[in-house]
Symmetry: C2
Subunit: 222 residues, 2 copies
DNA sequence: GCGCAAGTGATTTTCGAAAATCTTGTAATT
DNA sequence: AATTACAAGATTTTCGAAAATCACTTGCGC
């Protein structure tokens, strides 16, 4: 999210907690008890509470009055809601990028794609590289829309991407992904975007929808 | 925003602060000092800090590390960004509502419109009724999209509406509004929406755009 | 006179504990 | 046996103060 408020302790704990949730270390619906987390991260309950409050900003945690925080729940309907919004907003952000982006934007897209492609190859070989791929994948999608001049739109797409990541994490490296040529989808996105082809928006929509369909087909929701 | 976390003290202070900002009592860019606010609302600095953190969630306040909170700044580009997103999201939410809404939704729209119409008439007569009109106006727009089944979309439109309200407040009861027949615009919206006319979406877009244009034409930004 | 460093005051951030609230388990009553 | 009332424990929420950081001024050296 480019927040990186590493300046303050609450910001650091926030970043750690966010990573833990996105990595699936903290399961959806799991209660986030202040005392336990404070001990775990060697910080006071106050900073943990502030960190959790910021997680709630981005819908990764929820606060129930007098009952504390929990990791946000997942549901089929919420995944569909997120996907619909992503298709709409990230598509529009891509349109903006293709219209306003200069050659440096193109370079950033090509660069991010290269890193993602390389990360994809080392995925099956070496263990524990799934996080590396996730980061590269995230960076690629960020690069695609990085030339959008609507700051709020970018913030929303980034926030929604985090929400979607939770579900992708949930379904793991599902077998269904074998039936897709994801690298080809990314390459197509890269080529259409850098050549300012309007159909890039539709390609992005298909890309997002397919991932959602894959997650849904695992039957882990509801 | 239908938050109303009046159960906890931090929630109460949050609601008050939110109202103060939206009413223009706290000006954009104004620093929000903890000690001063704590004394003003007779609460500890901790609860004020938590309340401010929640305001930051909805982009009504911003936190700079080690420099505390300030009321969010306004700018021409931000208003344009908000408007573009509102047209997109609130339009789509209205489309959803017209598709999924039942007769109770229609009734809610008609009801909210009636209240708004009545509030409009008493606007010029009695003083201090501008808040009443603002509330009715807000409620009308909420009712329009209330049958949308995408919860996240509704949350986003509500949040963006708050952001837009800040600008409407800024421009006051500008003279430019005299050149518009706002009641007619609302009536048209009500009739098109309840008759499930797809052109309601475009009418809503025009309605939102006109308000933005009016605010911009005051020349108070930048 | 001008720039720069140290010190002072104000403000944020963090901490640990008290107060309030909720949850769970036990006992008493119908 | 089921249900309600009560009590103990755990957890959140709130508080006030200590620690850390920042903005500003004063004083020193050039």
């Amino acid at each position: 999210m480019s927040d990186s408020k590493t300046a303050t302790r609450a910001g650091q704990v926030h970043d750690i907690l966010r990573a833990d949730i996105l990595r699936g270390d903290l399961a959806p619906g799991e209660p986030l008890r202040l005392a336990a987390l404070a001990a775990k991260y060697d910080a006071s309950m106050s900073v943990v509470r502030e960190a959790l409050g910021r997680l709630a900003e981005h819908n990764l945690a929820v606060l129930t009055p007098n009952q504390g925080f929990r990791v946000v729940e997942v549901s089929r309907s919420d995944l569909l809601a997120i996907t619909e919004l992503r298709v709409m907003l990230e598509g529009e952000a891509l349109r903006h990028s293709m219209e306003h982006g200069d050659v440096h934007w193109e370079a950033a897209v090509v660069s991010a794609h290269h890193v993602l492609e390389r990360a994809t190859f080392t995925l099956d070989d070496e263990p524990g590289t799934t996080q590396e791929w996730s980061d590269a994948h995230h960076a690629f999608h960020v690069a695609l829309v990085s030339a959008c001049d609507n700051a709020r739109m970018l913030a929303l797409t980034n926030s929604l991407r985090d929400g979607a990541e939770l579900y992708r994490q949930l379904s793991g490296s599902s077998d269904h992904f074998r039936e897709r040529d994801i690298p080809a989808e990314h390459r197509e996105l890269m080529e259409l975007a850098t050549s300012r082809d309007p159909s890039a928006v539709e390609a992005l929509a298909r890309h997002l929808q397919r991932t959602t369909d894959d997650v849904l087909s695992t039957g882990l929701l509801e």
